[in-house]
């Protein structure tokens, strides 16, 4: 089997990312609540095998989703929930801040990654988007959509701005405006050679509804109207509906 260059590129990028992930320093916290549960794994399903008591200090080693691996003075290692760890104190007496993926954490997010499934003019479409929360009201976003239909393969990218008028609402409407490009290639069984790829620029406007669903996840429903600036005399109008979800950092 021959490996293509794209594949190798992905592997190289992946290994660079992996080597860049720096090890954090250990943080010592003291317990002020009556006790803290130590579990054997990073999930609430795992059994509690140890309890650290009030007044004890524990060292935080690492974090995996909403769970923190901690070690006691006596060397007991286990996983503590973010909820319990959020009630411990740092060496300077301040309460430890742990993100729990709450709605408040969402409003303070910096980045957001979304995935959507939808219909682009009655063709199944798959979209991904990366967004940067600029002010809370204004969000800059880059999107990529792929719609593979029976007659053509369409690939769209765009850069756009979202405006959330009421970001503090759990169900919040927003408007989008942006610009991008579309590549359309007819199916290979419909044309003789592969030179029929059409490229056009487009402008888009749209509206959406965002709903903070649960810990770390947000649901989104979106509509956008695309005006493609084609080489032909008339411009083409494309509509897209999509439903998806986002995770945030």
């Amino acid at each position: 089997m021959k490996l293509n260059t794209y594949f190798l590129f992905v592997v190289v990028i992946a290994s660079v990312l992996f080597s860049l992930s720096a090890k954090g320093e250990d943080l010592l916290v003291s317990i002020v609540e009556p006790y803290v549960d130590f579990r054997t794994g990073p999930a609430s399903e795992y059994p509690i095998f140890h309890v650290a008591e009030q007044g004890e200090s524990i060292t935080i080693l690492k974090k995996k989703t909403g769970w923190y691996k901690a070690i006691t003075h006596k060397g007991q290692e286990g996983w503590v929930s973010a909820e319990q760890l959020g009630k411990t104190l740092k060496p300077n007496g301040e309460q430890l801040y742990v993100p729990t993926g709450s709605f408040e954490d969402y409003t303070n997010r910096t980045f957001e990654v979304s995935a959507f499934g939808g219909l682009l003019e009655s063709v199944n479409a798959l979209s991904v988007a990366a967004a940067w929360n600029v002010t809370g009201n204004l969000i800059a976003e880059a999107t990529y959509t792929q719609a593979l239909g029976d007659f053509s393969e369409n690939k769209l990218w765009s850069i756009r701005l979202q405006h959330h008028t009421f970001p503090e609402w759990k169900v919040s409407p927003y408007l989008t405006i942006g610009a991008g490009g579309i590549n359309t290639r007819p199916r290979s069984n419909l044309v003789q050679s592969g030179d029929e790829i059409r490229k056009s620029d487009f402008y888009e406007v749209g509206a959406g509804l965002r709903y903070y669903f649960a810990r770390n996840t947000v649901l989104k429903l979106e509509y956008r109207s695309i005006i493609a600036l084609t080489d032909r005399d008339d411009q083409e109008r494309i509509e897209e509906f999509k439903l998806g979800f986002s995770v945030f950092f």
Binding site: M1, N4, N108, L126, W132, Q146
Partner: protein, 233 residues
């Protein structure tokens, strides 16, 4: 690539907003966040909680929450076999990148490639290949949502590893026979965590798409069985 002037201008404008205002706002919100955190519990700190005992002789390093090593991203490679409907079974290799949203849910992107074999017709008739060599390259990618059923695996009384069984459902695309097709994938797998950050995985996944490569249009099922290793960071 030909760009419309207006599109380029608006893209540059948006990029400007992001680059120059974005970082300033982001810093602003960080500082604001730190202050509101401090101000949130002034009463509690004064009344309920005794001041932490601090040994004045020890110089304390200032370590904050952001220094905690987070391991929510899982990156890995896998290899195995894929049965490509009508075109024999082939070896497949790929890469995966996953983000663990919480203890149960994760998002995973996969990219893999294989080379398809010959149909029985091509073999029996002894000529007239359906596809060129390039068209036999089978590549696919997908984005899936997974659900972990957390557990532990006991090899012996003392040899215990955390593990999970998971289901995935996703969508993506398959590039095969000169066309790219919208592909739905579903599967299940088992992840054995040898350490907190190193895991072994077994995956079974079906990839379904509509194909007319052999003349009639039909839904094809391409089942992949792979073994992989992943690292969390």
């Amino acid at each position: 690539m030909k760009f419309n002037k207006n599109v380029v201008l608006s893209a540059v404008a948006i990029l400007n907003i992001v680059l120059f205002n974005g970082s300033a706002f982001a810093q602003g919100s960080l500082v604001k966040g730190a202050f509101t955190k401090k101000a949130a519990n002034p009463m509690q700190e004064n009344t309920e909680q005794p001041p932490a005992l601090i040994d004045p002789n020890i110089e304390r390093r200032d370590i904050s929450e952001s220094d905690i090593d987070t391991e929510d991203i899982e990156i890995g490679i896998f290899g195995g076999f894929i049965s490509i409907e009508d075109f024999e079974s082939s070896e497949v290799v790929g890469v995966s990148l996953a983000y663990h949203i919480n203890e149960n849910l994760f998002l995973e992107a996969r990219y893999a490639q294989a080379t398809a074999g010959q149909t029985s017709f091509e073999k029996l008739s002894g000529g007239a290949p359906f596809l060129t060599d390039d068209e036999r390259d089978y590549t696919y990618y997908n984005l899936s949502l997974g659900y972990n059923i957390n557990g532990e695996t006991f090899f012996t009384d003392n040899l215990v590893f955390n593990s999970d069984f998971y289901f995935t459902l996703g969508a993506g695309s398959t590039n095969f026979g000169g066309d790219e097709r919208f592909t739905v994938s579903a599967g299940a797998g088992y992840r054995l965590l040898l350490t907190d950050f190193w895991a072994l995985k077994v995956d079974v996944r079906d990839h379904v798409f509509t194909s007319d490569i052999i003349g009639v249009e039909k839904d094809v099922h391409n089942l992949a069985i792979t073994l992989g290793t992943t690292f969390f960071f």
